[in-house]
């Protein structure tokens, strides 16, 4: 069977292939193929590290998944066998249900997230939409808040997935607002203002600010004052603010996590412009179950997102299965506490380990990763130098990490390295692997 040619010819023309696909499909296809993420993932799946069976395999440090406390979830399941089975009464499972999620799941999630955030906010089930993971939540909000060709401001470095989630189908442009090490990667309102004005001058409509808090990939937390200033900014410009808080509950340091919803509420801002995203993929290490949440205080957004829910609705048996566990307050408290301890330990060991090579981690208090400065190992202080280093890390050290350029970081040499998919015993292995490069570098 003839395969359609795909080499960079832009939109496939009719004369070459049987029936062209859309130009958005074509550009999406090409961009995926070229990303480091794609290359790294392939190497990992072809040759995955396993301490026992494949000790020389590629170690995956690119996925921000927290496997440190999965044993607690397993334990809960074996202690609660009955609650862990789906009711075989089909009429509970099978017919059409509220398309935006079961009320009992929303209620259970609200309770659980309340615990995670130490009761600093209380989520209202009637202001929640359940989505197929946070990926779906981000895309859905893009469809709600912006038209194709419009833009959103996102402080960079930012989560690599945003490019896909906002652009592929919703057609929304991202204007990165660079944060720099000199400012400790803190967001400055003046850079936001600058980016906003530049966009307006170019005739691009800015509809919202999207940010992650705790930050991915940095791991820092936005303080109350900055959150207040952000709310001032979006109020003045009459635009939306989307706070991606999927890493809430990943703070392991002493800084306090403050949700945008908390500030908006206590300081009397108009909450109809504030929308928050949560998900179980990070906080409970259940990415496979596809549970994301949009919390919005805007009736119109809720009504629209509910209509969109037809396109991403979560399976009812899955929802039902989660309700008992999420409603178990004791489990929540225990899980949160133990997870925090383990996270902190891994973080400290990792930072310590890297320090021996003179590699510094940005001091962070949240997230499942370290934001690491490896610029002293680069041959040239440029994106090219960074990618060469990334390549060496992948092919010589055989560890898969995320280069800062993928996250739109403007300073070359930063890498996001996750430490929650490995165990304490793997840390010395990782360090030994890194030594392959630092040793080489000295020559």
């Amino acid at each position: 069977m003839l395969k359609s040619s795909i080499a960079g010819t832009g939109v496939m023309s009719r004369s070459f292939s049987p029936a062209a696909v859309s130009s958005r499909a074509t550009s999406m296809y090409r961009s995926e193929h070229e990303s480091t993420n794609h290359v790294g993932q392939s190497k990992c799946s072809d040759d995955p590290y396993d301490r026992a069976t494949n000790p020389n395999g590629v170690i995956q440090l690119e996925i921000a998944e927290n496997r440190l406390a999965m044993d607690l979830v397993k334990e809960w399941i074996s202690d609660n066998v009955k609650a862990s089975l789906i009711d075989s009464d089909i009429s509970h499972l099978v017919p059409y249900h509220p398309i935006d999620g079961l009320l009992e799941l929303k209620t259970a999630l609200a309770a659980f997230m309340g615990q995670v955030m130490l009761e600093s906010i209380s989520l209202d089930p009637s202001q929640m939409i359940i989505t197929a993971g946070a990926t779906s939540a981000i895309e859905t909000l893009s469809f709600c808040l912006a038209d194709p060709g419009d833009a959103v401001l996102i402080p960079s470095p930012y989560y690599t997935g945003y490019d896909r989630n906002l652009k592929w189908r919703a057609g929304v442009e991202i204007i990165p607002v660079p944060c720099r090490s000199i400012d400790n990667f803190r967001l400055s309102i003046s850079s936001l203002e600058l980016a906003y004005n530049q966009a307006m001058k170019r005739g691009v409509k800015v509809r919202a600010i999207f940010l992650s808090n705790p930050s991915n990939p940095i791991g820092n937390l936005i303080d109350r004052v900055t959150l207040h200033e952000l709310l001032d900014f979006v109020t003045e410009k009459n635009i939306h603010l989307v706070s991606d808080e999927v890493f809430a509950g990943s703070n392991h340091g002493t800084d306090e996590f403050v949700s945008i919803a908390d500030v908006a509420h206590t300081e009397g801002f108009d909450k109809t412009r504030v929308h928050v995203i949560y998900g179980l993929s990070k906080v409970l290490a259940l990415p496979g179950f596809r549970i994301g949440v949009i919390c919005s205080f805007n009736e119109y957004v809720l009504a629209t997102a509910k209509k969109y829910a037809r396109f991403f609705s979560v399976s009812v048996p899955t929802q039902r299965l989660l309700v008992p566990m999420l409603s178990d307050v004791n489990f929540a408290l225990k899980y949160i506490e133990i997870k925090k301890k383990r996270l902190r330990r891994m973080y400290e060991l990792f930072v310590e380990g890297l320090e021996q090579f003179g590699i510094n981690c940005f001091p962070s208090s949240a997230g499942y990763y370290c934001w690491v400065n490896m610029s002293n190992l680069m041959r040239s202080n440029s994106e090219k130098g960074e990618l060469e280093l990334w390549d060496k890390l992948l092919n010589i050290s055989k560890i898969n990490v995320t280069p800062g350029s993928e996250c739109r970081c403007v300073e070359p040499g930063w890498f996001r390295i996750c430490f929650t998919t490995i165990t304490e015993d793997d840390i010395p292995v990782v360090m030994k692997r890194i030594k392959r490069i630092t040793a080489n570098n000295k020559d």
Partner: protein, 435 residues
């Protein structure tokens, strides 16, 4: 609701989702006053929801006998795998099970490759996803009328793609003709819309009929001539009353030894045949590698939960169960169909000769006061408010001939259906037929 003070997108505020149509309004009336044999015997009977409840007992039995299918991923040991699995390729075991289920439905007359199956959260998501991939905003898809009202939303709303109807009428049992196809294509050309494909539903919703082999050949020839895609939504393929009558576009592709197969894509779901809409399982099967790869990546926005995939992989690989289910389900649907046809006939109402699906296509033309869309809607309103039946008017399915209605018969028990038929008979008897 006051409009948002902070502006929303145009898509968010548009009415392109079509959810203001009578098709959906009738559901609201049902929600407000639902029939119940004991507690609300004069309530609205829902005959506008194409759901399959006739074979629930078989599913329940399966789940009871196989508790491992319905837990956190069949045992503690695989819990971890399950919890972490978010690969957009989907579980191989589930895709294999799906492929073999689809083959079974087609009586082994077509083969399906598990690696060409892309999973999405429901057929709704599958149809929208294919549209995003195959068409740009402003492009058009040709869809034969009458069609499922949800297509207005699924194919157009967020994609910005247009639907141009291929008009079909009762003169030939609503079959697609080459003239109608050409006319639709020209209409798109005149409107300066680039036609990217044809989307058919086979078996048809709302007609309840299967497409003939010759019409399928015609469609593939036309798509080839115009160099466009052909999407076949086959979500009712397992609900054909007699298993031998269904011809899938997959068979045509195989008969032509996969020539021009790259333009063919099939949508399937477990919501109708297996009565599992709550599970949100839809698939795209494409013979086009690029479409498969792209669809897979774009499916990130609507992945099926790993737990659900695992559960269904077990169930669908159980050949004894699936064969028995398909056989029994077909038989029960056929009986239901015959029951409702008989009942309607005794009330003097004719239906299109159907052989599939969860509904029949009923002709109330003789009861219309005027032979127009307005006349049809007036009758629909009357039936909803006075007879307390929610049926779907043909106009919400874009039928060009007034007077046709879709009536679902599988989403209720037999007693409720009897009550509904009684009400219809009383209504018809009480009205004078138009002269």
């Amino acid at each position: 609701m006051r409009p948002s003070t902070v502006p929303l997108s145009e898509v968010a505020v548009s009415k392109t989702h079509g959810e203001d149509s009578p098709y959906f309004a009738g559901w609201k009336a049902y929600d407000e006053d639902p029939y119940d044999a004991v507690t609300n015997p004069s309530g609205v009977i829902q005959m506008g929801l194409a759901e399959n409840q006739v074979s629930f007992d078989l599913l329940e039995e399966y789940l009871e006998e196989h508790p491992e299918a319905s837990s956190w991923g069949s045992g503690i040991s695989s819990f971890r795998e399950n919890a972490l699995f978010q690969d957009y390729h989907g579980l191989k075991s589930f895709r294999k099970a799906m492929a073999s289920f689809m083959e079974k439905i087609r009586g082994g007359k077509a083969k399906f490759d598990a690696d060409r199956i892309v999973l999405t959260a429901g057929a709704t998501g599958a149809n929208e996803l294919l549209t995003f991939i195959l068409a740009d905003p402003g492009d058009a898809l040709l869809v034969p009328t009458p069609y499922y009202p949800g297509f207005d939303r699924d194919l157009r709303w967020r994609t910005g793609v247009n639907i141009i109807p291929i008009h079909c009428d009762s003169s030939n049992g609503f079959q697609i003709t080459i003239e109608a196809l050409e006319a639709a294509y020209s209409e798109a050309e005149v409107a300066k819309m680039r036609v990217q494909g044809i989307l058919i539903t086979n078996p048809s919703n709302p007609l309840g009929t299967v497409m003939t082999r010759s019409v399928l050949e015609l469609l593939l020839d036309f798509a080839t001539r115009k160099n466009i895609h052909l999407i076949s939504d086959e979500i009712y393929s397992g609900s054909v009353f007699s298993s031998t009558e269904f011809v899938s576009v997959a068979e045509i592709v195989e008969a032509r030894r996969h020539e021009e197969a790259e333009r063919v894509h099939i949508v399937y779901s477990l919501s109708k045949d297996l009565g599992l809409p709550g599970f949100r399982v839809g698939t795209i099967y494409s013979y086009n590698d690029r479409v498969v790869t792209t669809a897979r990546r774009m499916s990130s926005f609507s992945l099926v939960s790993s737990q659900t995939q695992k559960m269904l992989a077990l169930m669908l690989s159980d050949t004894e169960f699936t064969e028995r289910y398909l056989r029994t389900n077909r038989e029960r649907l056929r009986k239901r169909y015959e029951f409702i046809i008989k009942g309607l006939k005794s009330a003097g109402i004719e239906c299109l000769d159907g052989n599939a699906g969860l509904f029949c296509w009923m002709n109330l033309g003789p009861l219309l006061e005027e032979d127009t869309r307005e006349g049809e809607l007036k009758l629909w309103e009357l039936i909803l408010q006075e007879v307390k039946l929610n049926i779907s008017p043909g106009s919400s399915c874009h039928c060009s001939e007034p007077g046709w209605f879709r009536v679902c018969f599988a989403n209720m028990n037999l007693q409720t259906l009897q009550v509904a038929l009684k009400r219809i008979k009383e209504f018809v008897d009480g009205r004078k037929p138009k002269n």
